[in-house]
């Protein structure tokens, strides 16, 4: 039983006049305004017209005082949607293409809406998509994995074979080498979906590649590389150093507890932890052991990083330590001052996240954020930090440090070494500006 007089507190913008707010943000609160503020709060409490129309303010909110349709009717039966889908209220959060980025949608990318995600796992239906020649849905009964090249015995594995082998389940991030690539020269896109949305993090299940290589008697002396090849029309091929292949690479069939989605390589894809997404060959059908890199089209024409001297860095693969604040982030609108849980993601292709610092003033002062568990190797780590926004302009940044001691650099430091036309491997600190009107926008500092 509550005997106190209830205090109804709706969001402050409900009962503080707009012109007062802008006056306060412009000049601070002086005594006359303070008195006015107090009286406007009092007016709201005493039954002013500003609360939701149907509720009498003195009594409370309509959301509580009135019966709701979902409370007063029979709900839907089980299995009404045999494969569940998100609430209709979440429909805005979808994978999206960046208009004008690519010319045709079958050689394109759809970005993950990071601005709406929580924790570290990307829901399967929102995992980013990048296809070079469209996506296919392969009949697993017809799918084969061949291992050949410098092996004693080239072998064929069916999906049945693979699923009988000892499997591992691991959570890893996958990031396209071109993630944030649009921003090397200047700000180009408005939201974190388009700046960082070629990033996902899922639990994958599959068999270590080392087991399969061992089964075929791979020549580890001469065989310093493996070539992974896809079974779709693009026949995507990528070279992977044997060192990685034997370390933590695995041949995965499952993602987030179910089979891979076709857009993500059903029924088989390579997982190459810490390495850019293009190497995680989808619809994987062949592994060849060889003694030199293969310079496939996507190692010789794309996924090469242009340096200021006109040379391209070839076989750049590792995704270095990076982080980004996802809420609040570009294209969002804050509607009130006060407390916010500022939240973001950090990851490193070389290990675990050790620390994330956040600045609210464009990089002058920094505070260390809370890292949420789990903190896993080559996986996204979620960070959070408290912030009380006083309505003045702010520039939010996050800076991650990984277990090797590597510190995420600002964009100007990256440009000083790599120029601004590299396209790939931009792991710069991201800046979001919060205007006095509450609008958050993408900016670059310095």
């Amino acid at each position: 039983m509550i005997h106190n007089t209830p205090r109804i507190s709706a969001a402050p913008e409900n009962f503080v006049p707009a012109d007062l707010i802008s006056a306060v943000t412009a000049h601070g609160i002086d005594d006359s305004r303070r008195i006015f503020l107090r009286s406007s709060f009092a007016a709201a409490l005493l039954g002013g017209a500003v609360l939701s129309g149907r509720a009498k303010a003195a009594e409370g909110e309509a959301a509580i005082l009135e019966k709701q349709p979902w409370q007063t009717a029979l709900g839907k039966p089980v299995a009404a949607t045999p494969y569940g889908v998100p609430s209709t209220f979440e429909a805005n959060l979808q994978r999206r293409e960046s208009p004008g980025l690519t010319r045709v949608s079958a050689a394109s990318v759809a970005f993950t809406p990071l601005q709406g995600l929580f924790g570290i796992i990307t829901p399967s239906g929102l995992h980013f998509e990048r296809h070079h020649q469209g996506w296919v849905d392969i009949d697993p009964a017809q799918h084969r994995l061949m291992i050949n090249g410098l092996v004693k015995q080239p072998k064929i594995f069916t999906m049945d074979d693979l699923l009988r082998l000892p499997s591992v389940s691991r959570i890893h991030f996958i990031e396209c080498g071109a993630n944030t690539g649009l921003e090397w020269g200047n700000v180009a896109v408005p939201t974190v979906q388009y700046t960082h949305g070629m990033l996902s993090c899922c639990e994958f299940t599959g068999v270590p590649l080392s087991i399969l290589l061992d089964e075929c008697g791979a020549d580890l002396k001469k065989g310093k590389y493996v070539l992974a090849e896809g079974g779709d029309g693009s026949g995507m091929t990528r070279t992977i150093p044997m060192e990685n292949a034997l370390d933590d690479v695995f041949v995965a069939w499952a993602m987030n507890g179910e089979m891979l989605r076709p857009e993500n390589g059903y029924p088989l894809r390579l997982v190459v932890p810490g390495v850019q997404g293009v190497s995680w060959v989808k619809w994987l059908r062949r592994i060849e052991v060889g003694d030199m890199p293969y310079a496939s089209k996507d190692e010789a024409v794309h996924y090469i990083d242009l340096m200021p001297d006109g040379l391209h860095r070839q076989y750049t693969s590792i995704q270095e330590c990076k982080s980004v604040i996802t809420t609040p982030s570009g294209g969002q609108q804050l509607h009130a001052t006060g407390f916010y849980n500022v939240s973001g993601m950090a990851w490193s292709g070389r290990g675990k996240i050790k620390r994330v610092d956040v600045s609210f003033d464009g990089g002058n002062q920094w505070r260390t954020a809370r890292l949420e568990s789990p903190i896993l190797n080559k996986a996204v780590t979620r960070f959070n930090i408290d912030w009380v926004w006083d309505g003045s302009p702010a520039i939010l940044q996050s800076r991650a440090i990984d277990s090797t001691g590597y510190v995420q650099p600002p964009i100007r430091t990256l440009r000083a070494v790599r120029g601004s036309r590299s396209i790939y491997h931009n792991n710069a600190i991201q800046s979001w500006q919060v205007g006095t009107n509450g609008e958050v926008s993408n900016v670059q500092v310095g």
Binding site: E13, A18, S22, S52, A55, T88, A91, N92, L93, Q94, P99, R103, V104, S105, A106, G116, Q133, V151, K152, P154, K155, I156, P190, E215, G217, S234, G235, R285, R286, G290, Y294, A295, S296, K297, A300, D309, G310, L311, H312, R313, S317, G331, Q332, L334, H335, D357, N364, Q365, W366, R367, I401, Y406, A416, H425, G438, E439, V440, S441, Q444, G446
Partner: protein, 365 residues
């Protein structure tokens, strides 16, 4: 004695079973009996088509520039342009290289910030990469349909357009190496960097400064105002409730914090439900994606071919046109919208083509 003999016999039997099930695996580990089988020579040959920079894997064969031009015009030019210069479907393949580049083996325009596009020929250092890729993946909508000789020919023509080989050149497994020595950007790659493997040393370092780290903070770049709505309305791309809603980019920014706008509990949710997400796409749209019409036709914008909105507009109120268009899609052809031909679509079922045409003519995109 008797017991040992029986055990031995059992062991021998088990061994013989292993041997006859896995006759070829004796050299490889077989820790997982019953899983995997040896690949046959023909199977490996069918799939192992990769060609390396040292030309290991290159099949025997040849093709001339002249033959290649025929193939290019018929099967490549509609997407890549007559001279490989098209920027409509993908970035240009040819352009941006010079005779000096061919001599030097480095493409000068790569250091020119004014160079509008980095073409394939400006970047690629290894000829093997082009052969391998064209043979495995082109034409984009009909991969693995070129023969080895056709691949040599069309690559010869492509190299001819880039002025790397003369008009009468014949490219073959024998002449590939001589052309490699003329690739304009053959010395343009470097492997000295720390991003190739886990042991590599990073080349850029941030600092973990915590206090008074920036003397002054200056904004170097932001989105120009005209790009405000270029990614469509951001309010529709963020959760429609909660503290982090999207900016309505269809209107000017708020003058001040939106005190008068009600976002409190108890108000109708402003979530925007896009039709795509709740109702299944019409069959036409599915077929449009499935048969890759999107490669050349935008629904509302012109690509290689006319936009479907334009097509619907032109043929509005002409029911007799369905059959004509169905035939046109099936057989391909040019002239109705310009000189660029539409390729034939011989393998699409008639019923799919019919549905596509009715959907296009309905004009509801």
């Amino acid at each position: 004695m008797f017991r040992w003999g029986k055990r031995l016999r059992r062991l021998l039997f088990a061994l013989s079973m292993l041997v006859c099930w896995f006759p070829l695996t004796s050299n490889a580990a077989d820790k997982f009996p019953g899983l995997g089988r040896p690949a046959t020579v023909a199977e490996v040959a069918a799939w192992d088509i990769d060609v390396r920079p040292d030309f290991k894997g290159l099949p025997a064969g040849s093709g001339s520039v002249a033959k290649g031009q025929e193939i290019w015009d018929a099967r490549c030019a509609n997407c890549h342009g007559t001279f490989g210069e098209s920027n409509e479907i993908f970035t240009p393949i040819v352009g941006g290289t010079t005779k000096q580049d061919i001599e030097r083996g480095r493409v000068a325009s790569l250091t020119d910030p004014k160079q509008p596009q980095r073409t394939t020929m400006m970047k690629v250092a290894t000829l093997s990469s082009l052969f391998d890729y064209i043979y495995r993946a082109m034409p984009w909508n009909e991969p693995r349909s070129l023969t080895v000789n056709e691949t040599y020919a069309v690559l010869a023509h492509l190299l001819n357009m880039a002025e790397v080989v003369p008009d009468d050149f014949v490219l073959s497994d024998k002449t590939m190496a001589s052309v490699q020595a003329r690739m304009p950007n053959r010395f343009g790659m470097t492997k000295s960097h720390g991003l190739a493997n886990m042991r590599g040393k990073p080349d850029v370092h941030g600092t973990a400064c915590m206090k008074d780290c920036a003397e002054f903070v200056q904004i170097g770049s932001r989105l120009p105002d005209y790009a405000r709505n270029a990614h469509n309305n951001l309010a529709e791309q963020n959760r429609g409730w909660g503290p982090f809603r999207g900016v309505n980019t269809t209107v000017a920014p708020l003058a001040a914090l939106s005190a008068s706008r009600s976002v409190a509990q108890g108000q109708p949710s402003s979530v925007v439900v896009s039709d795509d997400s709740v109702s299944p796409a019409p069959t036409g749209k599915i077929l449009y994606a499935k048969h890759h019409c999107a490669a050349c036709h935008g629904l509302t914008n012109k690509l290689v071919g006319p936009s479907f909105r334009e097509v619907a507009k032109r043929y509005k109120g002409k029911p007799e046109v369905n059959a004509v268009l169905e035939q046109k899609i099936k057989l391909g052809g040019a002239g109705a919208w310009g000189n660029i031909p539409m390729p034939p679509h011989a393998t699409i079922e008639a019923s799919d083509i019919a549905s596509l045409v009715s959907w296009i003519l309905e004009g509801k995109f």
